[in-house]
Symmetry: C2
Subunit: 411 residues, 2 copies
């Protein structure tokens, strides 16, 4: 592992020296190579699909795992779109002259070597590799075991393009030892690795945070709330709540708990229930909710659960202060929304809650790189530092100061 990481680190300098046009040309070659290897990729994927069947993966997981011609074309297009992004490195972020006459330039640079741990779809392999390459970062990829053949085949295609361009193939690698022990080694190799991005289950992320000596940007769970205030337009509010829960329940920016102002609960809750009933949402409620509509009981544990499914907690709260109190307690710092026409309640909500994204009168589902206008994204960071919320390609850069003097010494 250490030998491999030393190579990865040294390839970082080679990558850093590539011009933007070289990077874009190579990315386009990668997109073409994915297309021309469609049959190989489908063959490798078939092995994973067969294993998945043997291991009784759910049909949802099997669908995520599947590669077909259309999906491989989608992967190629994604790589081309990443090539088309503005180069995030070499930008002068700030500049000034100091009192001593030093010319300061704060310049964006790649982070260096990034380890990314993910589960889910094989296209993440090519997306992430392209995002890292575009931002001049060496990536070490650790995908899910269930997609190992697909991921290996995709990495082989990308590495072949690197080698054809006389570049070290370590610029884009799968982790050589994908076992738990291998990952545990990787996250302690701060001599070679500059950042670890764990995406996935809570257990994985806790383990990585607790054991890494490398900096970690977590992509953790979203315990997202929507609060319907007494001053909300109710139709508006229900449409937003339905969207936040039902449009795609399995994602981190979906709502898990709906908070309803006690001042309107009696009128609003029956309407809310009938709207969610149309979407076959399983509703759970606090005692006050249960006094108004017929739903299951929501426990403290429920209020702390990211369902990733079409299940919703409902809680009656005392106005915006009550909503804030509940959210401060249960938020995972991802996305929170208030629906209100009242500017004071809105601002109190925005200022009192610490989360990556705070919405007034919109669905929490908008928290992603595309909707924010960042272009392709690495994921959605639940870190408080470095990158917060949607982590676009700029999140894969850091900076250094270039300082031009004319003989200055310190007095």
């Amino acid at each position: 592992m250490e030998k491999f990481l030393a190579k990865a680190k040294s390839s970082s300098r080679v990558l850093n020296a590539l011009s933007g046009s070289d990077k874009n040309r190579i990315l386009k070659e990668m997109a073409d190579a994915l297309r021309s290897n469609t049959m190989n990729l489908i063959e490798a994927n078939a092995l994973d699909m067969a294993d998945g069947e043997k291991n009784n993966l759910s049909s949802a997981l099997m669908d995520r795992l599947l590669l077909d011609e259309a999906r491989i074309e989608g992967m190629a297009v994604a790589v081309e779109e990443i090539a088309a992004l503005k180069d995030p490195v070499g930008r002068i972020l700030d500049g000034w002259v100091t009192e001593d006459g030093l010319n300061m330039q704060k310049v964006s640079i790649p982070i260096g070597v990034i380890g990314i741990i993910y589960e889910s779809r094989p296209n993440v392999t090519s997306d992430t590799a392209a995002l890292c390459f575009k931002s001049s970062n060496v990536c070490i990829l650790k995908g899910g075991k269930e997609a190992q053949n697909s991921n290996k085949a995709i990495a082989d295609v990308l590495q072949a393009v690197l080698e054809r361009n006389n570049l070290p193939k370590e610029m884009i690698s799968l982790i050589p030892d994908a076992s738990r022990e291998g990952v545990d080694k990787l996250i302690k190799m701060d001599k070679y690795v500059d950042l670890i991005i764990p995406r996935g289950g809570e257990g994985l992320i806790k383990h990585v945070s607790a054991n890494a000596t490398v900096s970690v940007v977590k992509h953790d769970k979203g315990q997202c709330h929507t609060y319907i205030d007494r001053d909300a337009k109710l139709d508006n509010a229900i449409a937003i709540a339905i969207n936040a829960k039902c449009q795609r329940p399995g994602v981190c920016n979906a709502m898990e708990t709906l908070l309803v102002d006690s001042a309107i609960a009696k009128d609003a809750l029956p309407k809310i229930k009938s709207a969610f009933d149309e979407y076959h949402t399983e509703l759970k409620g606090c005692v006050e909710t249960q006094a108004i509509i017929d739903v299951e009981n929501a426990t403290e544990e429920d209020f702390d659960t990211e369902y990733l499914a079409n299940i919703l907690n409902i809680k009656v709260v005392d106005g915006v202060e009550g909503a804030i109190e509940h959210i401060v307690r249960f938020t995972s710092g991802h996305s929170e929304a208030i629906i209100t026409e009242n500017i004071t309640s809105a601002e109190l909500f925005l200022n009192s809650i610490d989360a990556a994204a705070l919405y007034v009168n919109a669905s929490t589902r908008f928290t992603d790189g595309g909707a924010f206008g960042f272009g392709a994204e690495v994921g959605i960071s639940t870190n408080k530092l470095h990158a917060r919320g949607p982590m676009g390609i700029e999140g894969l850069t850091t900076y250094k100061f270039k300082i031009y003097g004319s003989g200055q010494t310190r007095g």
Copy 2:
């Protein structure tokens, strides 16, 4: 510890709600309180000084430990200067309208609860507390054992001002358990603590990085180099090198190794030696250096040592490429300098080395918040992410997105 941290975290919301003018008024009260408690502080400090004498602290350490009237006045003035800084929270860092018509505001906010571990002078206690308070961060301070009575007295003065203003005293606290075990608990309390800043010895920083689950911004060592290129003005170069080494050898931005281009070594090294001899610098050199001037041998280990003393390694290298090769191997990512009139060599140096601050024709001694124009500083970060280099008050903030919609749902 957990009870205390829960209080600290909840006091974070109270602090966050204070207006800028309230914060400044309270900071000024703190400055006045330091002044009016001068005698108490000196008495407490006398206990530390007596312990220091008993424990045979070096005279340099004893001098750093000492509090007298002038130094306490300096602490009060520093707090007033921090009050006068622009409020770093609540700034709109960016703003735009998305394709969906969402009004996006990226707003600076405090990080939350920050644990700071430091050794050195007692004034760091009031400086750091004021910087955190000004940026609406709760701080948990862990100073050096040798200054425990002084630090306690300073914290008492600041907490009395908080209480007089009906604010929870946990906003500014010393760690309740200052033992190794106490620190080990603190750095794992990610439920309550948002950031740990360790300043001090390599051992401390390695231990914190390896064991923290909280995010860490390290303030680690500076293994700084200056390279004299064949195209340097030699007088210029020598003046800069002398400044980088001798003006204050005990600090992290002082030079540890001087690299000299082989093309000029024969002419330059004797002049360099006689300049450093005037400053009584202990010189060590590589074999090529020793062939030209009479100095001790510099080992591989020497090239990897932060002396924090008036000792200097000299190495002859093959031009800028040789200098880059050596620096890439030994840099701690702090500050590196090239002295040259050649623009191509300068740019190659700036672009090839990854460090917080890269200088052309200036002394590495300029790497600090004051010289950069950031005002007061928390320290000099050797982290690659979040804050890099001098960490000013802005380094104590993060951001969130406030998003104003008008009923948007995701399509």
